[in-house]
């Protein structure tokens, strides 16, 4: 074991300590202390992650074994951490973005009472702990612990303002949707155990194990794992929880529902890449689902008026992109997009939070506008974020999105066409958001206008850092055609995807073709961008009721209503049936019937107790005679 591995366990333990301090001391700690503790532990983890990352970059990838977590005869599940390029990259994203969001939160949540403030930070720390466990686990079971932990923290933080019933319901919805996915994950793990008797990544992905699994096994396992991923990463059909999850505080949306937790599904599939590459059917399912989600969510985002809802649907759409990349076998592209997305989407969410903060809690973009002149830093960073997500060169989103689209084209040009269509919509709705919020005239109330101000440094500094990352983050993955050896991320992640790359058929695109594809998608997105900029910088509030297709989009394709009709309503009526018939008639009938029978029986038996001595003696004699008869004749 090399030296650096001895401190690896500190990375997840530090946030856990922060959670314990803040959780236990929430009644006594002042806001400054709990904010400091919460951020400091994440910062320490971040420093350690950098150290680990550098060591991994120098070629030290290892599995650190601590103890046996489950130890049953033939099944031994180790509590072990896998430190390799993939997990160390995720460590950096989680702790790095996580730290910035913690700092941001100290200012954003400052108006909360100090008890709730500490509670908030303890949940946030617990979340980071679970997420690190998820990423570092060296087998599916440890990963599953983190997987469940992030789900729990997501629930707790969405329902942070638990006195509002709608928010609590949103939390419950997220939790239940996640549970559906988790079941798939769990079944896949059981399947692996029954076939291979192990859940460790290294053992499963070894050639011996892979030979033991039939094609049906691989397809089944990967499909079940994908069900888990659709729950956690908000894909069709389980995506509806993510927009509702915006009920939580904005930094939570940035950290959990944009940058980290929702990418857990992508991480899991990237980790299991070899299984997926060997199950072509699942690959198709993943690609189609991802693309369908990307398009569906993008169309919904076109017509939303809540600033956070637009970003939420945009997140769902971008996650769809990542699944498209996974489905076409572009694992590096998916991880790359996870990283750039973490930067620009966290930036956009935090920027939106800054806007909401300045507007005094107002989230409806129709009441905003013209914020450019009041909030210059927020405005500028937000603009950079929008350019990045719209895929404009040389911002980070361009590189990752281009890589995914190129891989999609190599797989099937139709996938590419739909992908570009989505990218165009992305550029449109992001600049609709930008135009409605920052350009034009202010449309809110006088009082709101009076209060408009730039946010304090604890908010703007994370924004600036994230903006810088959103601009330059893509430069670690410059395509081969621009610069030879420019794709440093691919070289770094190569050991993780080596097995899959050997199997996957490489479709090399000619350089001219690649330039052309790139040109088409950028040009199309740019036209949409300019169009949206012009259209929405002159946005006026109108009271016209939308009809037809617009109404369909505003109502999110009526997917929620559809789910209500086919799932919620039948379950409710089934429950009502159980309550009214089974519970009230059958079970209560049984219980009450027993009581009534005993009551009636004893009322009849009561007459035996007459108080007549003669009757008692008669019974006694009869009893003795019966005993005699039994004794003598039987």
């Amino acid at each position: 074991m090399s030296n650096f591995l001895q401190i690896v366990w500190l990375i997840p333990i530090l946030p856990l300590i922060g959670f314990i301090i803040n959780g236990a001391g929430r009644n006594i700690l002042s806001k400054a202390v709990s904010g400091f503790v919460g951020s400091a532990v994440i910062f320490a983890s971040f420093l350690l992650s950098i150290y680990v990352f550098i060591e991994v970059k120098n070629g030290h990838s290892e599995v650190v074994h601590y103890f046996n977590f489950i130890n049953i005869e033939s099944l031994k599940i180790a509590f072990a951490f896998k430190i390799d390029p993939l997990s160390s990259l995720f460590l950096l994203i989680i702790t790095g973005v996580g730290f910035l969001i913690h700092v941001y939160s100290t200012s954003y949540m400052h108006e909360e009472p100090s008890k709730d403030f500490a509670k908030y930070f303890s949940f946030l720390n617990l979340f980071v702990f679970s997420m690190l466990l998820l990423v570092m686990g060296a087998n599916y079971v440890i990963m599953f612990i983190g997987w469940e932990g992030v789900g729990l923290c997501s629930y707790l933080l969405i329902g942070y303002w638990f006195k509002n019933n709608d928010y609590t319901n949103a939390g419950k919805k997220a939790f239940i949707m996640n549970r559906i996915g988790d079941l798939g994950f769990l079944l896949a793990v059981f399947w692996l155990i029954s076939k291979l008797g192990t859940v460790s990544f290294d053992e499963i992905f070894s050639q011996v194990s892979l030979d033991k699994l039939s094609l049906a096994d691989k397809t089944g396992i990967t499909l079940l794992l994908f069900v888990g991923a659709t729950g956690k990463s908000a894909q069709i059909p389980l995506y509806t929880w993510l927009p509702d999850a915006m009920a939580g505080p904005t930094p939570v949306s940035a950290l959990i529902h944009a940058a980290t937790m929702v990418t857990a599904g992508i991480y899991m599939i990237a980790r299991s890449n070899i299984l997926y590459i060997m199950a072509p059917l699942t690959q198709h399912v993943v690609a189609i689902t991802g693309l369908a989600t990307a398009v569906l969510a993008a169309t919904i985002a076109l017509k939303q008026n809540d600033i956070k809802k637009v970003l939420a649907y945009s997140t769902v759409s971008q996650l769809g992109y990542m699944f498209l990349a996974l489905g076409v076998g572009a694992y590096t592209g998916a991880v790359f997009h996870v990283m750039t997305h973490a930067f620009f989407k966290a930036l956009l969410f935090l920027g939106a939070g800054s806007v909401i903060h300045a507007m005094g809690g107002e989230q409806d973009m129709r009441n905003m506008g013209g914020l450019k002149k009041y909030m210059s830093i927020t405005h500028l960073t937000f603009l950079l974020g929008c350019l990045a997500i719209a895929g404009m060169p040389p911002f980070s989103g361009f590189f990752s999105k281009d890589e995914i689209l190129a891989a999609a084209y190599a797989n099937n040009p139709i996938l590419w066409a739909v992908g570009v269509f989505t990218a165009v919509m992305t550029a449109f709705y992001m600049f609709r958001l930008y135009g409605m919020t920052f350009l034009g005239k202010f449309r809110g109330t006088q009082e709101q206008e009076h209060h408009l101000h730039e946010s304090p440094a604890a908010i703007t500094i994370p924004l600036i850092i994230l903006a810088i990352l959103a601009v330059i983050g893509g430069w670690i993955g410059i395509p081969e055609i621009f610069m030879h050896g420019g794709h440093r991320l691919e070289a770094f992640l190569e050991p993780v995807f080596r097995q899959s790359n050997a199997i996957a058929t490489k479709h090399a695109l000619s350089h001219s073709k690649e330039y052309m594809l790139m040109g088409i998608s950028v040009a199309a997105a740019f036209i949409a961008l300019v169009f949206a900029w012009n259209k929405f910088s002159k946005y006026q509030k109108s009271e016209t009721v939308s009809t037809g297709f617009t109404k369909l989009l505003e109502n999110k394709w009526y997917v929620e209503e559809f789910y209500n009709a086919i799932i919620t309503k039948p379950i409710n009526s089934l429950s009502a049936f159980f309550n009214n018939i089974i519970e009230k008639k059958v079970i209560d009938g049984l219980v009450n019937g027993t009581g009534k029978a005993v009551n009636y029986g004893s009322r009849q038996l009561r007459w035996l107790q007459s108080g007549q001595v003669g009757a008692y003696i008669l019974l006694m004699v009869i009893g003795i005679l019966i005993l005699f008869i039994i004794q003598l004749f039987l």
Partner: protein, 110 residues
């Protein structure tokens, strides 16, 4: 003499006692019937003891004693003590209720 005659006599006395207890209401007569049953058993005890002691096998044994003959006296003594208590109860009952009919004695019931 044949043991059967004693058994039949004891059985008859015992049955008379039981029937007496069941059908009569007068506490004193019931009491007498109970004594009758007790003495039926005593009679049986003495008879068995006597017959048992007469067998050759038992006479040969060094521990031969006619136990039950003595035992019956003990029973009589205890029965006499019991009778005195029982009669005392009946006397007290009569003083309180002016009746010795057991069917009136169900007042504990309520």
């Amino acid at each position: 003499m044949d043991i059967k005659a004693y058994i039949i006599l004891a059985l008859t006395l015992f049955t008379i006692g039981i029937i007496g207890v069941l059908v009569r209401r007068n506490a004193i007569i019931i009491f007498m019937c109970v004594e009758l049953m007790l003495n039926a058993v005593n009679l049986l005890l003495v008879a068995f003891s006597k017959m048992h002691a007469m067998s050759e096998a038992v006479k040969a044994s060094p521990t031969y004693v006619s136990d039950a003959q003595i035992f019956v006296f003990f029973i009589m003594v205890v029965a006499a003590a019991e009778v005195s208590v029982g009669l005392a109860i009946i006397v007290m009952l009569y003083r309180n209720t002016h009746s010795v009919d057991v069917n009136f004695l169900n007042r504990l019931k309520n």
